[in-house]
C-alpha cells in the first residue's frame, strides 16, 4: 500500500514506531504535490520550507515520546483561514498578496500539537460558490474525472485529500462547503455544530453560519482532527464551553439503539435517481445493522434556499465592506478621490459571484426590502430550527443526500446563478439550524462518480454522527482514485 493512502491512525503508528520520520512523510507529500497537483490545481500555496521545519520540530516531540494524534502528520488548510506569514488569499484578487500577521486559533492549535502544514488550498472566491471554479487562481478539477467540478467552496481541500496530496484538510462550511465537495470527491467531510470550533482567523463570509471543519478519508480521521481544533476560545465569543471533546468515542457503538430519521422533503423532485438509489442502499445497510428507521418531515424546507441566501448574503455584504484597499489587500491604481479609490478597488478586486452576493445582501437589508426579505428569512431560520428540534425528539440522527446530483461537468452549471443556488438545497438547512453534519461516500453513479450521504446530529453530538458514519464506512467498499 502506498504510504500516502494510509489513515491518520496508521500514520501515527508508523511515526511512533520509527518506520518513517515526519520529514520523510512530509517530503513524500510535497513530492506528490509537485508531480500531481498540476492536474487538479488544488493548492494555491505550497509551504515546502515551513513544512519541513515544522516536521523537524515535530520529530523532536516524537523522539521524546510526547507525540499527540497529529504530531508530525501533514495537513493542508483552506485558503480562507489565516496562517501567520503565509499568504492567505481567499482565492481572490482582492487578497492576492495578503500575508496575515497572525494565526487563526485552529492553526495555533494544530501547531501546538505539532501538525505539519503543507500549504493552502484552492476554493471558490471568498467561499461563495459550490464548484470551486470562481477562484482567481483557476478552477479546481475533480480527481475522479478531470472534466468535472470537485464541488465547493472547499474544492481544493476535498480534491487534495481524494488525490492523496494530504491525509487530512481543514476547510470551512457556510452552506455546504465542506460536505458537498467531500461528496463530489468521494471523501468524508464534517461540519461541526455552530460554536464548536473557533472562527477567529477564519476570513468571514457569513458570521452566523460559518464553521471550520475537517475533510479526510474517514469519519474517524475527521474526529481525530476535530478533537484538536474544537473547543472554547476567548477570541471567539460564539464558541461554547459545552463542546465535543471525544469525537471518536462512539466508534464501534451498538447501532441497535440508534433511531434514524429520513426527511421526505430531501428525496423529492430534483434529486437524481443515482443519488436516491445510493442513499437508500445505505439506509438499508443501517437497518441490517439494527438501526430503526422512520420517515420524518421538515415542513419549512421550502424556505431553506431563500432563507440561506438572504441571511448569508446580508452578512457577507457587511463582512466584505472591509475590503476597500486602504489597510490591506488590492488597491486600484484608478481613483482621484477617496470614494473613487474604494469603488474602483472593489470593482476590480472582486469577482462576479462575490459582487452578486454583495448586491443581494445589500438589497435584503435596504430600506423598503428589509421587512419582506431579511426579517422573514430570520423568522424562517427559527422555523427550520423548530422543525429539526421536533425531529430530534424521536430520532438520534437524520440521513439525507449531501447533494441533489453527483459532480457535473465543468461549465455545465456554474454560469447560471439560480441553478447553482438551488443545488445547495440538501445542505443549507444544517447551517441555518447550526447542527453538526458529516458527509461520507455511500455509492457511485453510472459514470463512477461518488455519491455522498449526510448524517445530521443534535447540537454538539458529533460523536454519534461520526460513530454512525464509521459503521457504514467499515462495510462499504470505497473506491480510491488513481491519479
Amino acid at each position: 500500500m502506498e504510504l500516502n493512502r494510509l489513515s491518520l491512525g496508521t500514520l501515527r503508528d508508523m511515526l511512533d514506531k520509527k518506520e518513517i520520520s515526519s520529514v520523510e512523510l512530509t517530503m513524500l507529500y510535497i513530492k506528490r504535490i509537485k508531480e500531481t497537483d498540476g492536474k487538479i490545481n488544488s493548492y494555491i500555496t505550497v509551504c515546502e520550507e515551513e513544512a519541513l521545519e515544522q516536521a523537524r520540530e515535530a520529530q523532536k516531540l516524537i523522539d521524546a515520546g510526547c507525540a499527540g494524534s497529529l504530531t508530525g502528520i501533514p495537513v493542508n488548510i483552506k485558503d480562507n483561514i489565516c496562517t501567520r506569514n503565509i499568504r492567505t488569499t481567499c482565492a481572490s484578487k482582492m487578497l492576492e498578496d495578503f500575508i496575515p500577521p497572525y494565526d487563526a486559533t485552529v492553526i495555533r492549535r494544530l501547531k501546538a500539537h505539532g501538525a505539519v502544514i503543507l500549504g493552502k488550498t484552492n476554493m471558490d472566491e471568498f467561499a461563495m460558490g459550490n464548484s470551486s471554479q470562481t477562484s482567481y487562481f483557476g478552477g479546481v478539477k475533480n480527481p475522479y474525472d478531470l472534466n468535472r467540478v470537485p464541488g465547493g467552496s472547499s474544492g481544493g481541500a476535498a480534491a487534495s485529500v481524494a488525490a492523496n496530496l494530504a491525509p487530512a484538510a481543514l476547510a470551512s462550511d457556510t452552506g455546504g462547503s465542506i460536505r458537498q465537495p467531500a461528496s463530489f470527491c468521494g471523501v468524508t467531510g464534517l461540519k461541526p455544530t455552530y460554536g464548536a470550533v473557533s472562527r477567529y482567523g477564519l476570513i468571514a463570509f457569513a458570521s452566523s453560519l460559518d464553521q471550520i471543519g475537517p475533510i479526510a478519508k474517514s469519519a474517524e480521521d475527521c474526529g481525530i482532527v476535530l478533537d484538536i481544533i474544537a473547543g472554547y476560545d476567548p477570541d471567539d465569543p460564539t464558541t461554547h464551553k459545552e463542546v465535543c471533546c471525544n469525537s471518536c468515542g462512539k466508534i464501534g457503538m451498538q447501532l441497535r439503539d440508534i433511531k434514524i430519521g429520513i426527511p421526505v422533503e430531501f428525496f423529492g423532485e430534483g434529486i437524481s435517481d443515482d443519488v436516491k438509489t445510493a442513499v437508500s442502499y445505505a439506509v438499508k445497510e443501517y437497518e441490517k445493522m439494527g438501526c430503526s428507521v422512520q420517515e420524518v418531515s421538515l415542513p419549512s424546507f421550502k424556505y431553506a434556499i431563500a432563507a440561506y441566501y438572504l441571511i448569508s448574503s446580508a452578512e457577507a455584504s457587511s463582512n466584505l465592506a472591509r475590503y476597500d484597499g486602504i489597510r490591506f489587500g488590492y488597491r486600484s491604481k484608478n481613483g482621484e478621490t477617496y470614494e473613487d479609490l474604494i469603488k474602483n478597488t472593489r470593482a476590480e478586486g472582486f469577482g462576479d459571484e462575490v459582487k452578486r452576493r454583495i448586491l443581494l445582501g445589500t438589497y435584503a437589508l435596504s430600506s423598503g426590502y428589509y421587512d419582506e426579505y431579511y426579517k422573514k428569512a430570520v423568522y424562517a431560520r427559527g422555523m427550520i430550527r423548530e422543525d429539526y428540534n421536533e425531529i430530534f425528539k424521536t430520532c438520534d440522527c437524520i440521513i439525507t443526500p449531501t447533494a441533489p446530483t453527483t459532480a457535473y461537468m465543468i461549465g455545465e452549471q456554474e454560469i447560471n446563478p439560480v441553478k447553482m443556488y438551488l443545488a445547495d438545497i440538501c445542505t443549507v438547512t444544517v447551517n441555518i439550524a447550526g447542527l453538526p453534519s458529516i458527509s461520507t461516500t455511500c455509492g457511485y453513479d453510472r459514470n463512477g462518480m461518488p455519491v455522498g450521504m449526510s448524517i445530521i446530529g443534535r447540537p454538539f453530538d458529533e460523536a454519534t454522527i461520526i460513530g454512525v458514519a464509521d459503521a457504514f464506512e467499515k462495510v462499504f467498499g470505497r473506491q480510491e482514485v488513481s491519479l
Binding site: 424556505y303 476597500d324 484597499g325 489597510r327 477617496y338 427559527g382
Partner: protein
C-alpha cells in the same frame, strides 16, 4: 423586477463601481435571483418568539481591559500606501 436604476442604487450603497453593461447584466441576474427569494414573502410572522434576540450564543461579556494589540509595523506591511506610521490615501477633502 429588478431594474438598472435599482442595481445602480445598490452598487452605490455597497461601494462597487459598475459600467452600464455590468449594471444591465446584474439587473437581469438579480431579477431571477429575487424571484427565487420571493418564496420567503409568503411567511406570515405570527410567533415572535421565533425571531431570535440572540440566536447566536454569546458567552458572558467581559470587562474591557487594555492589552497589547498587533505591532503597527506588522499591520502596515499589508498596506499598499503608508507613510510615517499611517495608512496613506488620496485626498479626502
Amino acid at each position: 423586477m429588478v431594474d438598472v436604476e435599482l442595481v445602480r442604487y445598490l452598487a452605490e450603497l455597497c461601494r462597487i463601481n459598475m459600467s452600464e453593461k455590468e449594471l444591465k447584466a446584474k439587473a437581469d441576474e438579480m431579477s431571477d435571483i429575487i424571484n427565487l427569494m420571493d418564496s420567503i414573502k409568503e411567511i406570515k410572522i405570527c410567533n415572535n418568539s421565533l425571531i431570535p434576540d440572540n440566536s447566536i450564543y454569546y458567552r458572558d461579556l467581559e470587562e474591557d481591559m487594555a492589552a497589547d494589540s498587533l505591532d503597527r509595523d506588522e499591520i502596515l506591511k499589508n498596506a499598499k500606501g503608508s507613510r510615517e506610521g499611517y495608512f496613506s490615501v488620496p485626498k479626502v477633502v
